[in-house]
Symmetry: C2
Subunit: 110 residues, 2 copies
Amino acid sequence: MGLAKTEMFTDQQNEIALFAKVFGHPARVSILQHLFKIDSCVCGDLVNEIGLAQPTISQHLKELKHLGLIKGNVEGTSVCYCIDKKNWTAMKTVMSDFLNQDLTKKEECC
Amino acid sequence: MGLAKTEMFTDQQNEIALFAKVFGHPARVSILQHLFKIDSCVCGDLVNEIGLAQPTISQHLKELKHLGLIKGNVEGTSVCYCIDKKNWTAMKTVMSDFLNQDLTKKEECC
DNA sequence: TTTGTTCATTGCAATATTGCGATTAATTTT
DNA sequence: AAAATTAATCGCAATATTGCAATGAACAAA
């Protein structure tokens, strides 16, 4: 099938999965880390920084933009990308709630 | 290709991507939340709780186990699964470092 | 031993993802 | 206007993922 049955899960579970999925490729992790490091960035810089072809980087940027984690702004012939702070913070809340579920009171049965 | 070019990324970036990928499906998110909620669980409970077929759940459990996030223990004809606390905590460190990159000093250029 | 229970594995079909060459679109420079 | 620059899109091939029916393996109960 290759198709996740999203209708049988909660909105929260689907949202976590969507965010996680976009982090599930090292190129996108690398792009985000680069944007954090240097504040803003044009697509061409990322093509040089990471070793992938321009259409490939462009597609990864599109996915990050689609989820709202980055913003793009046209500047002449190039495009300036940066982290969308508001949406990144909102995403962090969702993911942190998932990652920080309480472990302390659990018995490790296995 | 469908094949991530892992060799051009750092070990850290690949590790983040691997953890994120396993969270990138709502069924696995749901399984983990259930294990957190009820401490331990056999596969059959999960098949009832989530609406997927037994082989499908079994495969998702296998992926979670392969990454070390859960442990499984055979108990008669059933298998008891639970969160691997040590590995979960280690994973949380890796993911939190990524999610909590400093935003405060950044200019939003776009 | 036979039967039932529970979970893992196999094998397959359907769909998704990744990567890039070729092209296009938008803009700047000459 | 023509050429150059930059990034998006298209179209394709290769691979990965998802889901499940069928089957197998391990154990328990009769």
